[in-house]
Subunit: 381 residues, 4 copies
């Protein structure tokens, strides 16, 4: 189909009952960015083979373990172009490392690894071997987030003063991990999730989203992690005050215990010439105000938007695009990057906007700094 | 992948530069409902073959004309399971007729045909031959529209009093068809579009959406068609007052000349026990009020929704789904229907919610009644 | 206080238990537009005197009947400057006539009278005697409605194509008049309310609001009146299709039986250069779109607004004004008009925007045409 | 009029060109809570007398200085019932002290004083002399804020976890005080405003609003004050992290340099059973969610609201009330309190909700703690 460059991919994790694996597969399928041809889909060989069967994978590419997958696919002449890793955080690093060492491009879910050292190692491996290592920070896939980044870049807002980011959920308002809810269990288990609970899960989204739109570097931060639900070891609520290089300030709030918040993300960026507001509940709109003009709205699909935003859209204005489309934009970019390496086709705006290993590393450093500051009662780190 | 039943489809129309063909392909790909394996993609053999090549179709299934496609695919043992027809309105009938006569299931864009007689013929053919004939009234694919239909069906609203539906666009505010804008040109050409301009294009969406949600039959209607833009032969604005069987009343406004309206669809249904409101700008929400309760919101993905709505969703609450997902739900239903015939798998809620030939016929009768009433200065028809 | 020109007024009706009388008094008090010094506040002398006492009126100006009030106040040297008439519709005409014949300025609630003949008589009386006869069409008192009228007047929208006005309430969804609810009882009694139920009560607001903003004259209309609630004689739902002089079209929907609608008023005006949207739920904002610009928002209190809108505001942007402030703007205008006659002070924008007897008459003709059309099954009248 | 108990008041400050004095006068007039009969309206005797004349005050109660006003009014048999003090912050304390020592009730604008010591002294004076000392924290006058407080009080939200409050303005985005803008000049002058700029002006509103709704006491806070505009001595941006007694946490952001924010106040309160959301842009609505129910809306004027909220409203649902009505509710409460002392009439919910000297003192302590924390780079204070 249009945009089909015949890329093939494998998936590690994402088998039966997994939520996010299916999201990745749909996001890739939407634009026919690549075709799933191999997998090691679960944590036991039996369940892996069963999942592979359900997904219709060929038997010889249905692997019981990720080690086997990496070994076989990197040896095949028609081996996959990239591997999508959608396992719990603690396995990201060994799997990705093995892939990159075997010459396989990878796409990882966030947070990238368990530590910044691990992330740094992967970044070096990818760079040294000239391989793609994408990290699926989904929300930067929204066209109007890309337009927002353009408005900052082109000076419409002037010098940034304040960045306000809230990422609010409520599904962990109760101790559902004790009741065996699978999504909750691994996210709140330090062995599988790492040093951050909510911090790692959605705090990293917040950090990357702010960074993507503003381009600002965090100079120092003061943080407070809270576990509101009794018995929870990891944080379920992360509050961060940020000082950026150049004098701007920001606050990030990421929390998963607020009843009634389904998946609320709001971003406001205020400069000395203008401001912008975005929320994922109205993901197709971008509100803007400048000193010269009244408050106005930019909407996805308009001709007047930047090429960068237009490249990331499929339907006309007024025909809403959502989360899967944003996710799919990351994968269209990944396909652009891989095709560029493979076929010499040009990298367009979608490829340039793929979050790479540096973004993943940045997220891990953010997690570590937040934990450190919180442990020092909010000292600036 | 999950839900892959190995269906194959062909497309007629939808080649290079076509807008809606690509939308259909993405909608089918999102859930892997079927795979495109054949096509007669354009109005000339040359452009058809070129489009087929770009989409990566096998040469032996890249057809120059739809007649050839129907002939060959109906003869092949591995012929397609269904044909998607995305050509201008005036060719829907001959193509669909040929398909149905050759035993091929079809999916048609709306409006179904040029006349109700044509639509009736297709409906008979489909029914007599036990074939699927789906019509892509996209907006009924939204999960919260299906929830709305459930709320009416289960009596939450009581007896319906008023139905208010507005479908507002602005892209035809100027005479862009004279400037050669392709989408505008055929829609405002009576030879290609039929008796209704805006009426056929989006007025039929309005009629079906109201019918789908409320289940009400139109007893009589009073209509006024207007061409606001000079030189336009067909209507660009349709205002209809409806009397339903049972005493409810409604007004539909469909217009394409309202500057600032991108693709605004709002539906309000008011009964003697409660009311509901939906708009495609907030497609993931459904506002409800009843005499017993405060005004409240249902949101896509909630556990408390009906099975019918839940079957039509992919992502958790707060992760917005949009137009392509709604569209894809129609095709998931089509796949259910065809698999039921082919493999004996059960038809689920998605299949039962596919708009069939009766819905298409209903739309054509609506077009004809509206034109008739308007020609009589709004007499009740 | 600021703006105090020492005007004195009397009130007819508006005693104990009355809703709207207190609203008028507050609206007048807010800006100290005038001081209440006399009243005939109820339908029996006993209750009138009791109400007067509660309001602290001087005994010698607490009247048992309106006839007495008119006689005495018109004879006093320090008689009132104007009389506010807030009685059921059927008494508007005799009271206002007596006032105007006695040389007293009046302010009437809408609908102005029971018939257009009565309204015409009052208009003539007011004009012949050079007296103020204001009609409290409250919603035109909103600053952003006045800004909307300016945008039409100054050509920002170009030639108007469509006017969409909905005035929706739900408090009459059940037969509460049979249960003795006072507000409902007289409004649904033809003897007290006139030929229109909902039509007279809020349909006239709709007509005036559209007329005030657009300046368009109704050429003909096609209407349908419905009584959804069993046993109700007058309409509780009014649907009108309008053709304006010059070719624009409109639809008005006024209804009081829609559960969940508290007092929803939405106005959209679409021209061939631009559009505007207003709703009383966001009364401080005005949404505008033009061909040249993105969709933008004007907000009450901004420096960039017209003098006409700015004159009608009291607080800075972001400090919302509401219904009482809109109401108070009518009275500030009435005070301007009366002071102009009395003291020779200039009439400013507030005075020019007071709905006069012609507006009241226009409303009564609207009621009569709607009833006539509805009786002829929607014929154009 | 209804509710008129014949109270008389004097005003100190609020003369020509003053903004807030007129707001207080309108708020008092709206419900006829009291009548202005005396004033020392400006900082020079000449301008005071001129302002008094414009407001129509009797000559013998038009004072050149506040000292004179206090002396004379406290000696008159028919002296005022209370004095409204609407001068710059630095004069609040001496004026209020003189009033209270002379036995006069007072109403003060916030922030109450320059220091907490001053506020404490006034609180003692008021309590010792059994006098009313109201502080006009306007936003707690909104009926739906009072309903919110009831929902917390009656346990609907369970134990509070998070309080999020933002008070955002943009009018100080540039250095307009250097250009002589009067409102800006004194607010950004430490001699007139005190230790806090934005902190004192709107940060105190934020603190009181959160306290009023939740009833939570601040255990400790960590703050960061910023002056984004060059040359500004006082803060124009206040960011505070709060730990409440009992374990809840909160963040307040109060800033006046955010372009495009007119006067945005949003409050979210999250408990372990439910949540509520309010914003002054939709001041008539309160959004609520609980574990047991879908997200729903309470609206001003509904019968189902608490008596406390209903007592603070004037018009039916759907007829919006705004800032002046909220302000007026404070004064209706002040009138209740004074009448209770004077006439023995009962204190109703409006009186009980008047912010008293303790609230004012609390605000001053908040200012001092924030400044202290900020000076220690965000240490918990």
């Amino acid at each position: 189909m249009a945009g089909d460059h015949g890329l093939k991919y494998a998936m590690v994790g994402g088998g039966i009952d997994a939520f996010i694996g299916e999201v990745h597969r749909k996001a890739i399928a939407l634009d026919n960015s690549a075709t799933l041809v191999a997998g090691a889909l679960s944590s036991t060989p039996e369940r892996s083979m069963e999942s592979a069967k359900q997904l219709g994978l060929p038997e010889d590419r249905s692997y019981g373990t990720w080690q086997e997958l990496v070994e076989k696919e990197s040896e095949r002449d028609d081996g996959v172009d990239f591997v999508v890793i959608v396992t719990p955080n603690n396995t990201h690093h060994p799997i990705a490392k093995a892939c990159l060492e075997a010459g396989l491009n990878v796409v990882l879910d966030k947070p990238m690894t368990m530590t910044s050292d691990e992330a740094r190692e992967l970044a070096h491996l990818a760079n040294d071997n000239d391989l793609v290592c994408g990290v699926t920070y989904t929300y930067t896939g929204y066209p109007m987030i890309r337009e927002a980044a353009e408005l900052v870049r082109n000076g419409t807002l002037g010098n940034i003063r304040r960045v306000e980011l809230r990422y609010l959920q409520g599904w962990l308002a109760n101790d559902i991990e004790s009741e065996g809810q699978k999504q909750a269990s691994w996210r709140m288990d330090p062995k599988q999730a790492g040093a951050g609970g909510t911090l790692g899960d959605i705090g990293t989204h917040a950090e990357h989203l702010a960074s993507f739109v503003t381009g600002l570097e965090i100079e120092s931060l003061s943080a407070e992690l809270t576990s509101f639900v009794d018995g929870r070891v990891l944080d379920d609520d992360t509050s961060v005050r940020v000082r950026y290089e150049g004098g701007a300030k920001g606050t990030y709030l990421a929390t998963q215990v607020l009843i009634g918040e389904e998946n609320t993300i709001t971003l406001s960026v205020y400069g000395d010439k203008g401001s912008l507001w975005w929320s994922n509940g109205d993901a197709n709109d971008l509100k803007v105000a400048t000193l010269e003009r009244d408050t106005y709205y930019l909407t996805r699909g308009q001709d007047s938007l930047s090429e960068r935003a237009k490249a990331a859209t499929r339907t006309p204005p007024g025909h809403p695009e959502g989360y899967l489309e944003a996710f799919a934009n990351i994968y269209r970019g990944v396909a652009e990057l891989i095709n560029a390496k493979k076929l010499g086709t040009p990298v367009g705006p979608l490829g340039h906007d793929v979050p790479g290993p540096e973004a993943g590393l940045c997220g891990m450093r953010f997690v570590e700094r937040v934990v450190s500051s919180s442990n020092q009662d909010g000292a600036w780190v």
